[in-house]
Symmetry: C2
Subunit: 523 residues, 2 copies
């Protein structure tokens, strides 16, 4: 193998080189010696072992060096370019209640914003400032000179065409800002006017058409910084950016298009001629009817769209009719992060579900029920007792540390500290209100044996056996210390459902029953 | 002349083509006909008159077509690149109180952030969350996964090296965000630890050095998108951006540099070798001692710096010593807008001052005092009476509509409506609390003549003459309507100072005396 040594070493996954919590590197690239080489490499135990010339040792999964490149999804390569006909069967949308309740629905609709550039949430409460709450479900509001939010309705002395009843051609907002807000939200509170329909155009698609039909014009627009300007009494913004911005690999990455705010270009006359010819051609492409997706926002609809890709438009409306949208800006990076985390959590729940159906379905440490049955029963008992969600989750997941064969070690007389292992594993997704009762559920058994007469006698044979391995009943001092712990009551509650959950004749709900509850607790 | 027609027409300044309030265009570029030509052009009255083939007429200042290009100041062309020695005489700084009180001081220190990439405010109140108030003096806080603000101090379970006591090499923040926050603020609340000094490196200068010494390496870093990544329980951010980003004209525009968060590049081996060689060379440049400006933040210091240009660093500090900074992010566009508006206001005050010293020093409509003396006396009388700032300003500026020779028209028997002209001119910078008393000060004279016995008899001869031109005393109905106007009392107050301000033997302060008061009222 001839892997580039600095690349390989920069990606060493050991805990000395990277913070395991966030993957951040703990060394500087200049800390590596100038003559770094690989002294020895070998494959063993499914890992690539590398000994370095400076004595450091690294281990990589065998398939790691050849893994594929996955980009950040922001250029045209990560998008689904569209024309209006692509949405003949409907536009990406979700009901607000389902969006809030179901992480899969949430990931799907936010994923549509990443891929198609937009989505509509329906039945969002028709309440002023609600648009800010929508933005905060996936990111942070970007305040501008128009405020934290802006009202799109007819104003007496408008400082922007948006605040009149006039038609507005397809454009992107705030191109005079740098950084430009990459997302816009428009929440409809009232649209009883005649007219005032919404239009969207895929600016990436329009740019790709220009590239196809007039490559020289496309090139002019990518290499000409255009002065976008906005000025009122309190504001004087200017950004010099091309209408079509490419990434270093030549792919379309951002489109800014707003005739109203293009200031005065200062270039030699031939370049001005070339720019205006290209600009007019591109503008004409954005007006092609087949590119324009039209729909009407009604009260409760909230449109979310990519402001560095999609162009938005509206038809004129009757001045006296009611039309009121509230809008705000936000950014794609946080939305993308939210989608990634939702996918990660869904994958984690899938993995837990697999455990429940796989090894969890096998024998449980000498009990008559399987491990999965035991945990599902514990969760169901907590739920039936009206316990809060975090305790239902803790009861359901309290023995998750037994998965991956860990339970066997315990029965062989070694305390594998399954409560700690389970709590640590769960801490990737859940807060301490879930993880700490799991962590303390073994201690709670040892505590109850000490303080509650008759408790120990009720333990199952298997539980009595593991009690010894786990250290036996607590001393009086230990019990007093445990009782003083703020999480003691929750741990004892989980422990009682744990003890009860060993019936063979009880019908319990499956794991899927608990997914919404678990999803809501993940953070 | 052979000016490109679409360019010329796109810049038509007429009120039909552009909203006079904000310069936004009122037509689409596609609204112009395909065969637009100039039918006739001629110079007259200091203007270029153009008749278009579609019948539209435009007029441009004669010097307008040849005006120079002024960029947005964001690339290296708009910066003062530096090494540490350039600040041997001191770093850009201002006292917080002076920063708040004096727009010239504010523009200077914020201008330093634009040109040099940083500035320090001193004696900022040592109060938690104060850093947000600092950011709001020039823009908007950019919230991130670290919160609206973040505390830089030793944390028990840090998710970022910043929250430990370790040394940190020069880097930029949040490169895994796109848009990356373009400004960072760090406000020192405590720095009693040994160590914990701050360092800054001009990343543009470092990049320029790389371009000079190793152009091939420079080129590699500008064309290689690097995956910057950050991941914790609630976050999964990724941005693929080059370490050195050029604008379409090939000028350095942004630098992102953060070894900790560079993820895994996936490229053919020779490209990985080339990237790592270039990256290591660039990293070594950023560590050159002559590039590193070192200083120590003490309690009350607030550092503001350009996060897409400057790299910041800190030395290690003793864990047990007290060190606590609060930081937040913001953006360059709003800061730049704030500086431009401050310059615009300063220029406006300069223009008013010029009027006071120029034509204002001439005879005032037949009065014994000059117009400037009259207005300064009125302002001084208002101030001496303990009037609120907006009325002092209104009294000082009440006759500003007489400037530019307008006063002469009035004495020739035409009402030039100087009160309206003055109020409209002032409305560019002042709110209605200043402009409306100015607008109504003539009406107030006509009102007082009607309702106050003996008032008219006290008018000067010149004022009695202009009263006739202005419509004479009000009718009873007019007077009742005026008295009901919410601004009537302020207008009457200004009118009384106006009447009094005609003494030749009174020493009055100069215009500069009133500048801070006017500056504070501008918005």
């Amino acid at each position: 193998m001839s892997l580039p040594p600095y690349w390989l070493r920069d990606n060493c996954p050991c805990a000395e080189c990277r913070d395991p919590r966030n993957g951040q590197k703990l060394f500087q690239i200049t800390d590596l010696p100038d003559d770094l080489t690989i002294t020895r490499e070998e494959e063993a135990d499914g890992l690539l072992h590398v000994l370095w010339s400076d004595g450091h040792r690294s281990r990589y999964p065998l398939d790691w060096p050849a893994q594929e490149h996955v980009g950040d999804g922001r250029s045209e390569a990560g998008k689904r370019l569209w024309t209006a006909a692509d949405f003949a069967a409907g536009i990406p949308e979700a009901d607000w209640a389902a969006y809030l309740a179901d992480p899969v629905e949430r990931a799907a609709v936010l994923g549509a914003v990443l891929r198609s550039g937009f989505a509509v949430l329906r039945e969002v409460p028709v309440v002023e400032r609600q648009v800010l709450a929508v933005a905060r479900t996936f990111g942070y509001v970007r305040e501008t000179n128009y405020g934290e939010l802006f009202d799109v309705r007819v104003e007496a002395d408008p400082n922007n065409l948006a605040f009149t009843s006039a038609a507005i051609a397809p454009h992107s907002d705030n191109p005079y800002r740098d950084p430009v807000p990459t997302l816009q939200l428009l929440h409809c509170l009232d649209n009883s006017a005649v007219g005032g329909d919404s239009g969207l155009v895929d600016g990436f698609r329009a740019a790709a058409i220009l590239r196809e039909e007039a490559p020289a014009d496309f090139a002019v627009l990518t290499r000409t910084p255009v002065p976008f300007v906005f000025r009122d009494r309190a504001t004087e913004l200017r950004a010099d950016r091309p209408l079509i911005e490419l990434d270093p690999l030549g792919r379309i990455r951002e489109v800014r298009f707003n005739n109203r705010s293009i200031g005065t270009l200062r270039l030699p006359a031939p370049e001005l001629e070339a720019f205006y010819a290209a600009y007019r051609r591109f503008a004409a492409v954005t007006l092609r009817p087949e590119l324009r997706l039209e729909f009407r926002l009604g009260p409760g609809d909230c449109l979310i769209f990519d402001n560095v890709r999609l162009l938005h438009a509206r038809t004129a409306f009757e001045r006296n009719g009611g039309r009121h949208l509230q809008g705000c800006y936000a950014d794609l990076d946080s939305l993308s992060s939210t989608v990634a985390v939702l996918h990660r959590r869904t994958a984690a729940l899938d993995a837990v579900a697999d455990h429940f159906e796989g090894e969890g379905a096998a024998e449980y440490l000498g009990e008559a029920v399987t491990l999965a049955e035991h945990m599902l029963q514990a969760g169901a008992l907590a739920e039936a007792a009206g316990a809060p969600a975090h305790l239902v989750a803790a009861a359901l997941l309290h023995d998750v540390g037994h998965f991956d064969g860990a339970g066997l070690e315990l029965m062989q007389g070694r305390d594998n500290r399954h409560s700690d292992a389970g709590a640590d594993w769960l801490a990737q997704w859940f807060g301490p209100e879930v993880t700490e009762p799991v962590r303390l559920h073994v201690a709670a058994k040892r505590y109850l044996c000490t303080v509650e007469p008759g408790y120990r006698a009720r333990l199952s044979d298997a539980s009595e056996y593991t009690l010894q391995v786990q250290g036996g009943p607590m001393s009086e001092e230990q019990a007093a210390a445990f009782a003083a712990h703020p999480g003691a009551a929750d741990a004892v509650a989980v422990r009682r459902w744990d003890e009860e959950a060993k019936y063979t004749d009880t019908a319990t709900p499956g794991f899927d029953h608990f997914r919404p509850l678990l999803a809501a607790l993940m953070r």
